[in-house]
């Protein structure tokens, strides 16, 4: 007798303009199981859970909850059906207290009034049940990321929950906190709750997963019982045949040091010394909040530098403005193309033209538009943007093409050093390959390239040299054959050095960007 099926999807499809994020996916979740969704960024995991949690509605296909057809028009519908989700992007209001956040949208009332006493009592009971030690009266803005994660989980668990969705819940937790979370998950399982679990950390699967469904490019590749599979088999399913071809081999010809930081300190960055050389790809790996992105944002003038020195080709550029750093030949391509990268309402061409403007001198104060247009077309060719898309608003393109446009803009001027922060988040396979080809082209042309990535295979396969960040420091520098998954992962959780740091920042800029 197999346990009852809680959720079943039939040929579930979600199309966005220009991209099919989810393509006829059949999926089911049984009572009392942990069902892992596994796949690369952009494989459709987040789309699937957003449909199941009522955040968006399917283009086609059906969702059945306990055998009944459902059509969610909002999160409230899904919650009423007993489905509760913890998203990567926190659904907490920083200006409210923990207790207020827990009951947001479902506040206990006595008559017409909020029952604050019941709120505090229930919050305390919930935390006691989960064994979380957080004061319900604290403001969410003052919690650490791990504490926020716990509040988020507690929030999802209050009320009648039959189905729990967890999207990368361990991304910002320490080992101890992960153990704790897994104990909570085990207790939920015993109560018959079905859990959909998304994670990139394969070592977690063996500990908690019952079944694993692998997605790739919006399609379901297969569903396997965890007991009957191996990590290697899962990776093969995830990457498919493309893995061998997708990462190019990049010739390495290290030149002079272009960028050097000494004792760099910024918010969440504690003493970072690094060197970037021309003609090689420097990979940067680490967990969210490890300071990997913030170190580079600081030296680009996007975060205040507290101490240390930044030199570019021998010139001291500590605390220089972003404009000055870019003039010195550095280009930073941000991880979040929607909020930091592109002018979403502009056409793709006009976005590319923005990059050209930085490199084109004006004549008599007038912009040479004809020449700019011509160069934009050339750049569009270079980044393999199909001509049909060049006149369309960039916001309407798929993630892959948006990313190509973002890269194209960075190519508008001839920079010496490119810093790509999460270059392939939410990008399909084809665009990924194009972006990697571009990175190779740049590195082999003698540019220095930095690839900051949470995608471990990406960082490993592209890098000649790899920096592993942990707790705002460089935990390890690996080179050539020494770059291996095991080596990198072992440094992710390096204990905080005893030379105690002032304490980890609570609200970090990086945490607000997609991992």
């Amino acid at each position: 007798m197999s346990p009852p099926v809680l959720i079943r999807t039939v040929a579930l499809t979600k199309r966005y303009p220009g991209v099919t994020a989810l393509d006829r996916v059949d999926f089911d979740l049984r009572s009392g199981e942990v069902h892992v969704l596994f796949g690369e960024n952009g494989a459709g995991k987040s789309t699937l859970i957003s449909l199941l949690a009522g955040v968006s509605t399917p283009s086609e296909g059906e969702i059945l909850v306990r055998g009944h057809h459902v059509r969610f028009t909002g999160v409230a519908d899904a919650r009423a059906a007993g489905i509760s989700a913890v998203f990567q992007e926190f659904s907490l209001v920083p200006t409210l207290t923990v207790a207020e956040n827990l009951f947001l949208g479902d506040e206990p009332l006595s008559g017409p009034f909020l029952d604050r006493r019941a709120m505090r009592r229930k919050a305390a009971a919930l935390f006691a049940d989960l064994d979380f030690a957080i004061d319900p009266k604290r403001l969410v803005a003052t919690l650490s990321r791990a504490e926020q994660q716990m509040v988020e989980i507690a929030k999802a668990l209050h009320g009648e929950v039959g189905i729990l969705i967890l999207d990368e819940p361990t991304a910002s937790l320490t080992d101890r906190e992960v153990d704790h979370l897994f104990a909570v998950i085990a207790r939920m399982k015993a109560r018959g709750v079905g859990i959909i679990y998304i994670s990139h950390r394969m070592q977690e699967f063996a500990r908690i997963a019952d079944r694993v469904t692998v997605l790739r490019d919006g399609r379901r590749i297969g569903t396997v019982a965890m007991a009957e599979t191996s990590e290697a088999a899962l990776i093969e399913m995830m990457a498919g045949r493309a893995i061998a071809e997708i990462y190019p081999s990049i010739a390495r010809s290290p030149g002079p040091v272009l960028l050097r930081t000494e004792g760099l300190r910024a918010w969440g960055v504690h003493c970072v010394d690094l060197e970037v050389r021309a003609g090689e790809v420097l990979g940067v790996a680490g967990l969210v909040g490890s300071g990997k992105s913030r170190s580079f944002r600081a030296l680009m003038g996007l975060l205040p530098i507290q101490a240390g020195r930044v030199t570019v080709q021998g010139r001291d550029l500590t605390g220089a403005t972003t404009r000055e750093v870019m003039r010195a030949g550095l280009c930073y391509v941000p991880p979040d193309r929607k909020t930091e990268g592109l002018q979403l309402a502009f056409s793709t061409r006009d976005n590319l033209a923005q990059g050209e403007l930085a490199g084109t001198p004006s004549r008599f104060g007038l912009l040479p538009w004809r020449r700019i247009r011509k160069r934009c077309e050339a750049t569009a060719e270079r980044v393999e943007l199909p001509p049909a898309y060049r006149g369309r608003a960039v916001g309407k393109l798929s993630g892959g093409n948006q990313q190509k446009a973002l890269f194209g803009r960075a190519l508008g001027r001839d920079y010496d050093l490119y810093i790509f922060d999460e270059p392939t988040v939410g990008v399909d396979m084809g665009a990924r390959a194009a972006i990697y080809r571009l990175i190779r082209e740049l590195a082999e042309a003698g540019k220095a390239v930095v690839v900051i990535s949470s995608d471990l295979p990406e960082a490993m396969n592209l890098a000649h040299r790899l920096l592993v960040f942990a707790h705002g420091r460089i935990a390890a520098e690996l080179e050539g054959d020494a770059i291996s998954e095991a080596a990198i992962l072992s440094h992710f959780f390096d204990p905080i050095p005893s030379a105690a740091i002032p304490s980890v920042p609570t609200i970090d800029q990086e945490a607000r960007l997609p991992a």
Binding site: V55, G74, V75, A76, R79, A85, F87, E89, F90, S91, L92, V93, P94, T95, L96, E100, L104, G105, D106, E107, L109, P112, F113, L114, R116, A141, T142, K155, W267, S503, P505, T506, I507, Q509
Partner: protein, 348 residues
């Protein structure tokens, strides 16, 4: 730990501190919790007490209380909208429209029911509230359903409402209101307390209960604190925004009625400076322009402060033109401090 808590909690700052350091830490904590208001209030009291010996007298302070009723009310409405992360530039025009519409209705009904002034007043007030609710609905629908920025939406609606009230009256004050209306709501006293002050007291209590003790209030804060999180928490964000603008307009309507009673006629030029003054009062009182933060009791103090400053400037014989200059400067200063405070709070 963020800068906030390290400054506020004695445990993390366990270093033995000298008095001046401790004083600075206390000032910082006060600033983060309440904003600039305590500092501004202290400065105003000191300056005006020095400038005029009539300033710090019981008579004058009671006078300030009475004068501040209207701004306190409008500021409460403004606060509900500011907390959702928007603002309402139409409050002044709503006051004028309410005044004109209720006065027209009362003037028309007065001769028909000469023996029932209470009925006439009630119907006039009802008409005023109804038209204000429409204004609020328009603002809220534009912002929540069509995604128009609050700035342009309320600015446009403000023009519509102001133009409408001028059109209805031709710019001429509407007279012929029941004398009972002005006698009671303009100049009446109950147990020696002016009726407008009583009305304000009731409105403040209701606003406090709504903001702190009801689901509606909790949702207003949540929508302003993080609208996406609110949506993911199954809060009807669109409806919450519309409610905020309607509440704001209704409170403006109440103000309009009280002012109409005070001037004994319906006037299309009432409330001209209220939008700016109410935003200034809120910001000075620590309501964040980014939404999610703000308290009723502080806003009441903020509005009192503005009226206090105006009163002080009058006593110091500063002309009204120069007063406008100073008030604008004060607002800008408050907004700059709000920005600094936000950075300190978020530890950026």
């Amino acid at each position: 730990m963020s800068a906030t808590s390290s400054a506020a909690s004695p445990s993390s700052g366990a270093v033995p501190a000298s008095t001046s350091v401790r004083l600075r830490a206390a000032g910082r904590a006060l600033f983060i919790h309440l904003g600039v208001l305590p500092f501004f209030l202290a400065a105003a009291l000191i300056v005006f007490t020095l400038v005029s010996d009539r300033f710090l007298t019981a008579d004058n302070l009671v006078n300030v209380m009475r004068q501040s009723v209207y701004l306190v009310l409008v500021s409460l409405g403004q606060m509900t909208v500011l907390i959702t992360g928007g603002f309402d530039l139409a409050v002044g025009a709503t006051v004028a429209l309410t005044s004109v519409v209720s006065a027209l209705v009362m003037a028309a009904l007065g001769p028909m029911f000469p023996d029932a002034p209470a009925l006439v007043i009630a119907l006039g007030a009802l008409a005023g509230f109804a038209v204000a609710a429409l204004v609020g609905l328009a603002n809220g629908a534009g912002v929540a359903l069509f995604g128009v920025s609050p700035f342009i939406m309320t600015l446009g609606v403000s023009s519509v409402a102001a133009g409408g009230s001028l059109f209805l009256t031709g710019g001429v004050p509407v007279s012929g209101l029941p004398t009972e209306f002005a006698d009671l709501f303009g100049f009446g006293r109950w147990l020696g307390i002016p009726v407008p002050v009583l009305v304000a007291a009731v409105a403040i209590s209701i606003a406090w209960v709504v903001m702190t003790r009801t689901r509606t209030g909790a949702h207003l804060y949540a929508v302003g604190g993080n609208i996406k999180a609110a949506k993911l928490s199954a809060i009807h964000t669109g409806r919450t925004l519309i409610v905020a603008y309607i509440l704001c307009a209704l409170i403006a309507a109440l103000t309009g009625l009280l002012l109409t009673a005070r001037v004994e006629s319906g006037e299309a030029n009432l409330g001209g400076t209220l939008a700016l003054e109410s935003i200034a009062a809120c910001v000075i009182a620590g309501v964040s322009l980014r939404g999610g933060i703000g308290r009723v009791e502080n806003v009441v103090l903020g509005a009192l402060f503005i009226v206090l400053v105006q009163n002080g400037m009058n006593l110091a014989q500063i002309g009204s033109y120069l007063q406008m200059v100073l008030l604008g400067g004060l607002l800008i200063l408050a907004v700059i401090f709000d920005q600094i405070r936000y950075r300190m709070m978020m530890g950026v």
